[in-house]
Subunit: 109 residues, 2 copies
């Protein structure tokens, strides 16, 4: 048994904003980051090591997302892009998304 603990990946932190475009503009003008996805309800910026998301109040709560197995924590919601996730609340009410990436498409053998 290894004494080194396997570390999980902190996929993104999501901040609440009122205007997604205004937030994307503010961050991309100041910092080295790339727009991975953007519409009027949310956006995802890619930094060197992790991602920063913006969410509007009516759609998503502010949260952090950790890669893992959502089904270990509840009934996972499968999203249109193939990812699946479940939301937990920590003891202080902070939202923690357990996020699984989309399965790789099957390849021909």
């Amino acid at each position: 048994m290894s004494s080194e603990k396997q570390l999980d990946l902190l996929h993104h932190a999501a901040l609440r904003v009122k205007d997604v475009k205004q937030a994307v503009d503010w961050y991309t003008q100041r910092f080295g980051c790339k727009v991975e996805y953007q519409d009027h309800t949310w956006a995802m910026l890619e930094f060197a090591n992790a991602r920063l998301a913006f969410v509007v109040a009516e759609q998503h709560p502010p949260h952090i997302a950790i890669l893992g197995d959502p089904s270990a924590y509840g009934t996972a919601e499968v999203h249109r892009d193939g990812t699946s996730s479940v939301y937990l609340r920590d003891p202080d009410g902070n939202n923690v998304e357990i996020l699984a990436m989309a399965p790789e498409p099957a390849t021909r053998s």
Copy 2:
């Protein structure tokens, strides 16, 4: 000039908690992460790619921290561990810490 934009590092996200020990216990019991620092006012957990901090209301605001040059944004505060930083607010009032690591100690030549 390269067409590839140099990406900045998202050093940590800091969540507000009431009880730092309770938060550290909750996250370390569920996720693969290591305690990098902990006292009763704040803590820093190390994940595979980034860090997650916990802060109490009287000491620090919840924030995200991006590595960069604080002096480019204002008068940097130098902390006891040699790091320096300045806080900005994005258009929605989210706190963004611009964080510089401690300078390397001088080596003899």
